[in-house]
Symmetry: C2
Subunit: 148 residues, 2 copies
């Protein structure tokens, strides 16, 4: 039986990336943590288990993964970049209340078509912002009060 670490190793090799310890750890983290983490979040979490890890390695590795198509960057917040191991085109929802980035399963006809208004599309970023389902249930209205 192929263990999880072996399949991660294979994923790297298929993409022509040498499966080093640091790269395995970062890809493993991304596979297990699908909340669209930032470079800093990845670093902070892996630091505990890999004390020699450097922020530079995290950034380098993420850039390699990006180039090889193992992940997509999200520019949804306007400050840090978030990383998405799921490279299947999909949209995102950013909750202004709980700050979660939620995957959406809606589809885009233009992207499927490959072009919009004559321009050739190679990349799609669909970012919705507002209040997520859960926060709505809790009565959130993002700053403004709800009461009568």
């Amino acid at each position: 039986m192929i263990t999880n670490m072996e399949s991660i190793k294979n994923t790297l090799q298929v993409k022509g990336i040498k499966p080093t310890y640091v790269r395995l750890k970062i890809l493993d983290y991304l596979e297990r943590n699908r909340f669209h983490p930032t470079a800093e979040e990845i670093f902070k979490s892996l630091e505990k288990k890999v004390p020699t890890l450097s922020r530079t390695s995290v950034y380098n590795t993420l850039n390699i993964f990006k180039e090889k198509g193992l992940l997509n960057p999200l520019f949804i917040t306007g400050s840090e970049v978030h990383f998405d191991r799921n490279t299947t085109p999909h949209h995102h929802f950013f909750c202004k209340e709980c700050k979660k980035i939620i995957d959406l399963n809606i589809e885009c006809a233009y992207f499927k078509e490959g072009d919009v208004e004559g321009h050739k599309i190679t990349e799609l970023h669909g970012y919705f912002k507002g209040i997520c389902k859960d926060c709505l249930k809790k009565g959130a209205t993002n700053g403004y009060h709800n009461s009568i």
Copy 2:
């Protein structure tokens, strides 16, 4: 007849923003330059006519305009923020070849509806990337060669 500067002054007053010289100049610039400029581009251009202008004032003013709904920030490139005086919801196309940000006139059913998958939408960012119509005509393929 109402001059352009007077209508800009009025726009500010309607939004409850005191129409100072700096603010008038920046809003006037945004009205006349619809290519989605960055703070730096606005500063560089206005600096010539307003030599005392500071970068800080440009950033402050843009933040005020954003808060009051006079413009929308675009996080399309992942580096600098671009500003859009057109606050009507619309999508954008970023050309990887000529770096232009082009307005798209496609519409989003979910945004019109006001929610996606149960989440309440207040903001929409639709960013397509690829090669624009004009660059395609010129034979651009963004890095990779076209020949047989």
